[in-house]
Symmetry: C2
Subunit: 342 residues, 2 copies
Amino acid sequence: MSRTEINEYGEFGLIHHLTKNIELQNASSVLGVGDDAAVIDHFGKQTVVTTDMLIEGVHFDLSYTPLKHLGYKSVVVNLSDIYAMNATPTQITVSIGISSRFSVEALEEFYDGIYAACEEYGVDLVGGDTCSSQKGFIISITALGEVVSEKVVQRSTAQKSDLICVSGDLGGAYIGLLFLEREKKIFAESPNVQPDLENESYVIGRLLKPKARKDIHEFFEEKAVLPTSMMDISDGLSSELLHICEKSGVGCVIYEDKLPIADDSKAAAYKFELDPTACALSGGEDYELLFTIKQEDYEKLTLNEQISVIGYITDSEEGAKIKTKGGNTYDITAQGWNAFKK
Amino acid sequence: MSRTEINEYGEFGLIHHLTKNIELQNASSVLGVGDDAAVIDHFGKQTVVTTDMLIEGVHFDLSYTPLKHLGYKSVVVNLSDIYAMNATPTQITVSIGISSRFSVEALEEFYDGIYAACEEYGVDLVGGDTCSSQKGFIISITALGEVVSEKVVQRSTAQKSDLICVSGDLGGAYIGLLFLEREKKIFAESPNVQPDLENESYVIGRLLKPKARKDIHEFFEEKAVLPTSMMDISDGLSSELLHICEKSGVGCVIYEDKLPIADDSKAAAYKFELDPTACALSGGEDYELLFTIKQEDYEKLTLNEQISVIGYITDSEEGAKIKTKGGNTYDITAQGWNAFKK
């Protein structure tokens, strides 16, 4: 029997390979694998479902991640997928695998974070599974949400001339990770050196306490804006933009000088001699929303300073491009985090 | 800070401890933590959701579990929870964590099993997550189902005088596990000895290829039987009976000579000098349904030879009892598998 290594596919290729022959059998299964969440119909009102697995040592490092933050973030990353479908999250299930290294008090802290997120976003924890693991902490959360059928927003429906928008600012979480990894290394080498993170609370907060953009979802509802396509930014803007272009069969142009990057993130990036634009394009875990809107909705968006218009959709033949501040044009390439290509 | 060890609570105690203060916020959250599955309302039609995590080395041993069987069983154990709510499963999400030890071909085998179960039970795989793990294979599946609201069957609604029933036969999966563990040990000591499992295909099949009782769910529908309470038997009959008694605030009497045990399971138990009754009471992973019905439905049940009436519900003061073949009465105690008490 032949052996194909998993990293020959990459994460998205692997999922596609393993799921490409699925034929949906239930009339209620409106949308399956391939978007932020699946969609299940219930007589016009639709249930949206998404799931994420987080594994210690792969997705998080407990040496610098407080358990309460971890619980909170584990929920938020799932809710972000629900908002990315333009749906309202309603319920979650939480399954954990834990080794005996964890005390009940440690788990309580983790659940405090879970409950804090549930309260903030108005979702109910309705089920789960708790089991022992031989090694490390494993978290698997499934989130459900609801949306009326005509308001579901997918990745595959961007159209030529639509404006490309992002919420909040980008790149911060990645730079926060660099700081924490650096401090961890310094601490391992000289345990008496105090961590020097005081000025980096913004980028570290972006990594450890991300927000799901409930506010943007509510803004769409309030202003009657229906994005033409949407997804959340977990792997980096470049990677997500390419997803939307590929799924929608379109191209795009974005402008470097329009990318929203916080001053704190810029300052922090320079300390690592990194280009803030590169961090915004390829850094992951910001959990902002990337979406496209029809041009006629532009006026409405100007009311919300949390939304930046960064470019527009083109024909697919024109490819996916970024225009730099210096006036050059480059292809956008996916260099987002990829669990299998480390 | 104090440290409480997880095993001081046990699995169910731990879940209860961590979830006891939940207050459901959404009107659609009809039933949360504490049954086989949660229930979410959609205008009369209800969505049922359940989730299970399976970890290599804890829940399964790849040295004797073919990956295709593992994929199939991972789905079945979730669907069993959906049927235990008297609902019809409709969708699943599958998340896996895998180390680079696994080839794409190995994953394809696993997914072949997943798809075989999807086809057999008419459910759609609609989403999931694939990520790398540092060690071992981790599976987390969430299943959704639907049921009209007046037909949801919980654990907490058994009433005095109801008849206690089980589907299929009990104890086989546990004995199958004993055989496989024994052969594994023999193989480790003398790799040239061929495994002697030919006559044990029934009990080994019970462990590796369990069925979810779709047929029983359909029988209830066809004969208009609505169980008064129900759950699936994953931890052993004793443990599950005590759950129903505790949640419903009732007691029970069951009869040893009524317990359904296959002849093959009995013969296999004797080879280990085990009492088949003990295996039926305390062995887990049979994935049969345990349910109670009103006495007036008794006639209908006699039409189905896959259903055995094993006892009846009493007042809670009378406790949970088993009457043996020899005429003695004993308390039923939970000795089911417990992940944290090994």
